[in-house]
Subunit: 684 residues, 2 copies
């Protein structure tokens, strides 16, 4: 595998985009700073403001962690099955497993309302860097700086929200180098229209995840409502009649979650040697605990499945990352790029003082290492609910700008939608996760740690979890509302055992939060300097690391060579049946009966999945892939295994973004799911 | 769950056995120090020397980590399927999966020779404490003490072996308080006679492992040969006609692997807060890596299965241990017992100086914590082979008493049996394990560590593992022999990449080994003092922690109460079919076709599995269970989940040893496997 690290070197060395047409298609670009010159020069494409606005407003963010797009004037939203799965799971019961068996609403009346889904459409971006920086001056202590930044951001968000009625969030970019205010239109009445069976959405299971070639219909369709009517949507994507051609340039608009490309070598070493191994161990422990839980029987397996899928997925991502970071060649390249940049910075009298920022980042990593795993980390929905309520009634005593940001007035409606969600909580699953995570917390802090002693209250983690789960009333939404209603006094006097435990743990939760907030602040300040040094040496025509905010990526549809063999850009429906046969008898390799029944009616040469060189990462799942005319040609659902190093380096040698082809969705709706009417609405 | 910690308190406080008939049936007793008085008083049983000798000599140790017994005069040996599984796996191929499908030899000629199995029969025990202690004087440094102890033990073993022609090993007992010389008769021609399908041996899979009630035929039968003829066995167990009755006293003779009951509180804290979490994380990582490997297809799954089973089993054991140690009640009891003993020691002028031993143990734990995970730990058979050869040719330059013990002359034949085993090595599996364990080693030591840099040689763990696996010749037994033949010069000049890597790593392997050997030595010296303090306050009538040497445990057949419900002592054949039905469609819950075919002929009320209160632990698997007349009534194969805290405390409230009933084995042989002739030989 030859990773194209040199492009990243260019970025860090301040040379990006000077090489003109020879550059690869790296970048997760801001919609208010698109690489227009590059697109014009390399692909002859004029990116107009109208083009950009239409694409931006056709996009939808799933706040559970994915991307999506409007695909009709009457509110249809297309995303991945695995992005919708959180809702599919919450809508399922022991009797009706929508996540597994799929769903189709034949009428508006049959559409199923999601219990707690919020979709956000980005409608405006404003640069507020000057305003934020003016409030956070260099003489403040880290603690004061955290408070000052929090206050000014809260003020900016609140004022914008008051003025526009929109959800307004300040997004931190370039690790702290820029602050942009994003205005979102919120949709909170979201209903499920169609989902296929998980056996075709996740065909090949964990084994095929992050592999290619693939044959997955990882798609589902929701509809947004306003005033109990399908929302009227101005900006939506037309459906391409045939999808993209080989080597055709395509665009991906979505919300990549996080990349670490600006990270200094010391920060990458912390990731490589400490944080990623720690996370990997935690994920493996959780994965096995969920597997074990599922062994009790089919219903237990169903309850654990959605979370298990997420944990498995992350585990595979982190394995990819550690493998990349442990490659001495990649790391040597990062190191020499940093040296080159630092030499440039030190040689420039205006920048020389910035060199200390690298040392400050290194210092922060050391302290992060000391804190790793020493927090209060408990995976249990009931624990989280109690924690939210205990903290909220406390925070509400302060003016909004002084609160922990998640308890601000501006965010309250979204918070309450989560807190009062009617999504089922399975006590057996929740209890297992509570016990498992308490066990792990006791391992990490040591059983003699006073916080652990208080948490366990004289019992083993297993027995304590049973006591808490059986004793708390918070599984009931009405009980949550009543507890919030009872206010600070009520919460302080509550005898609910989960609430009582959170009261005992809250000082430690806050102490730890303060420490990490201050480290974040120190790092933000350091990266702001580093980013400015990069801007000063190369101009601002670059892209910031991903922050789960809307970005544009692009690249041609293109196969690649692996182990000396050509991997084609496309798969087709016929390949799915061949793939099934090749893995006969293996778990997760049975196509659903609906596909077998429809086989005769399907055009088996219909393209199914395809790959492109677009620069994507987790969070891009569900992103629309469009051609230059902004017609939808695909739906991002994965990257191949080689793309997993994309967290810190972009490559177009073998790394590929993997999409469901638009024709596959249309044909499957028509011939497998007999959803003619829905198929007719696509792009209309 | 009420754990009978008080008995352990008694042990530590020096009160054991003074309470007479009221004591529970705790103890893994030495065959040269059996609790005759206790058995007489509580059960009215006279344990004669003949009784003890017959039982001792009827027992067989599987050096892969299990127990067994002679069950016929013509060499038949009974053990668990999961003890034999290492051999069943090595005898299997892609075309003939003996581990999964079972095996029956209808003639002697059809019996399959194990590629590298060595069975040991204990024939004599001699106390050599004085001789060992005379050689290791208190003025020696830890390094000198390690060498002196090694030399004297090597001398004792070599002399005994020369004199008797037997395998002779000095066993360290009471953590260093006593040294006994064990004489073993070796059997190295061991052939497989019968094994059932893994689906009945491991019915219920990982989900049912360590659970009860159970329905498992976890048994298989080998035969030992001498001079290519079935060995003539003097001491073997008769087969009980009906098995044990409820509440009947039974005896278990086997090789419990390791317990930690003498451990000081500081040592238990090290286990609880550091070592066990570390091991758990490693096990979970390995388990998922093996699972992932198996997803590639049925043959990959077969190759990974035996190791996966072992890792799963250990993971469940370690979860049980951490859960027990994190229970504040258990830990408080251990702490107060230690305080009581220490108070007694300090108050006795003759013992007071021993109190410092507890501090020395604590000091060792601190240093163990610093070393945890910092060694060279690589799981790969090809790596191990290269390591053995590189070290062996180096060690062979020294006199036997100065070598690392595993390279002594006395042990050479056993070592060579392993080294030159013809058991298949699957390069794909071995490569994955090599990559996975190198990844983990790099995580633990940090990628900048010079040893890791040397190990990876500029490549990622994945690429380096491929290079090593493809490049080494050591999969071939002839190549191993040739390399050994080439001697020190040959090994030093070898261009085999695996050998070259081991040469680079060996100094670090030896440096680390030296550090841990010295810590072991310090701990042995401290525990010798602690043990002597215990002997001084209570006499020597107690049992030492398990050391994978032959012990006697005992206790009645007895059900228990769990969640308010009575769990019966027995299950029966009929229950297996009911259990299958209750778990229909779940993995590992399908009885094999042979059982369905035989259902009509089976007496469904035949007892299948039963529980007793005997004090057992891992390593006891395959132990014979006998009645007072030394008739075989059962075959230990598991402990229930409550017994997993048995590492550090014994309880008879809910903890149970789980056995296959002798009648189940006989009836299954007769009616399911149609092995009448074999069934007729049992106990004859």
């Amino acid at each position: 595998m030859r990773l194209r690290v040199f492009l990243l070197l260019n970025l860090l060395a301040g040379l990006l985009l000077t090489a003109g047409g020879a550059t690869a298609d790296e970048g997760m670009w801001l919609f208010n700073d698109l690489p227009k010159k590059q697109l014009k020069e390399k692909y002859g494409i004029d990116v107009t403001d109208e083009w950009a606005e239409h694409l931006m407003k056709s996009c939808v963010r799933f706040n559970v962690g994915g991307s999506a797009s409007f695909i009709s004037s009457n509110g249809l939203v297309l995303t991945n099955h695995h992005v919708g799965s959180d809702t599919l799971f919450k809508l399922s019961t022991a009797e009706r497993d929508i996540l597994k068996d799929g769903f189709l609403a034949r009428t508006l009346g049959e559409e199923l309302k999601a219990p707690d889904l919020e979709l956000n459409q980005l409608v405006e971006i404003r640069d507020v860097t000057a305003e934020v920086n003016a409030a956070v001056t260099s003489e403040l202590t880290p603690e004061q700086a955290v408070a000052a930044r929090r206050a000014v951001i809260s003020k900016i968000e609140q004022e914008a929200s008051d003025k526009t009625g929109l959800r307004c969030n300040v997004i931190t970019l370039y690790g702290g180098g820029r602050y942009h205010l994003y205005h979102f239109k919120k949709y909170t009445d979201v209903r499920l229209v169609w989902a296929p069976e998980s056996s075709i959405a996740f065909f090949g299971g964990d084994a095929d995840n992050f592999e290619y070639p693939r044959y997955n219909l990882d798609a589902c369709i929701f509809r947004v409502y306003e005033n109990d009517q399908p929302a009227k949507i101005e900006h939506f994507l037309k459906w391409s009649p045939n999808g993209p051609g080989e080597d055709e340039i395509t665009f991906v608009a979505g919300n990549p979650g996080r990349t670490s490309r600006i990270l200094t070598v010391s920060a990458l070493k912390f990731q490589r040697d400490q944080r990623i191994p720690f996370v990997l161990n935690s994920l493996c422990r959780r994965e096995l605990a969920l597997q074990q839980f599922g062994l009790a029987g089919p219903e237990a397996a169903r309850r654990a499945k959605d979370e298990l899928f997420g944990v498995q997925n992350s585990r595979k991502v982190y394995f990819g990352r550690v493998n990349g970071l442990q490659d001495p060649a990649i790391f040597a390249a990062k190191t020499s790029a940093e040296s080159a940049l630092l030499a440039k910075v030190k040689a420039d009298p205006k920048l020389a003082s910035s060199a200390a920022a690298w040392d400050r980042v290194a210092e922060v990593q050391k302290r992060r290492g000391e804190l790793l795993g020493k927090g209060v980390t408990v995976s249990s929905r009931l624990f989280e609910i109690a924690e939210t309520i205990v903290q909220m009634v406390e925070e509400d005593q302060k003016p909004t700008g002084q609160r922990l940001p998640e308890y601000s007035d501006a965010g309250r409606a979204s918070l309450e939608q989560q807190l009062y969600s009617t999504a089922p909580i399975y006590p057996d699953l929740d209890q297992m996760q509570l016990a498992d995570s308490m066990t792990r917390m006791v391992e990490l802090r040591g059983a003699d740690d006073p916080v652990c002693v208080a948490m366990l209250n004289g019992k083993s983690p297993t027995d304590r979890a049973a006591e808490l789960t059986n004793g708390t009333a918070l599984a009931d939404v009405a009980a949550r509302k009543a507890l919030v209603q009872s206010g600070l006094a009520g919460v302080r006097n509550s005898t609910d055992p989960m609430v009582a435990m959170i009261r005992a743990l809250d000082p430690e939760i806050r102490r730890f939060r303060k420490l990490t907030d201050e480290l974040d602040e120190l790092e933000r300040q350091a990266y702001a300097q580093i980013a400015n040094a990069i801007f000063a040496t190369q101009g601002t025509s670059t892209y910031p690391d991903a922050t789960f905010s809307l970005r544009l990526s692009f690249g041609p549809v293109k196969g690649y060579i692996e182990d000396g063999k050509q991997v084609p850009a496309w798969t087709d429906f016929g390949g799915a049946f061949t793939h099934e046969l090749a893995h006969k008898g293996q778990e997760n390799y049975d196509l659903p009966p609906s596909w077998h029944a429809a086989k005769d009616k399907l055009n088996l040469s219909t393209p199914f999945n395809f790959v492109s060189t677009a620069d994507i990462i987790g969070g891009n799942s569900g992103s629309p892939v469009v051609n230059k005319n902004l017609e939808l040609v695909g739906l991002i659902f994965d990257g191949n295994i080689q793309s997993l190093t994309g967290d810190f380096v972009y490559s177009d040698t073998q790394s590929r973004a993997v999409s469901v082809h638009s024709s596959a969705i249309r044909e499957a709706l028509r011939y497998v799911y007999k959803a003619e009417e829905l198929a007719d609405q696509l792009g209309k």
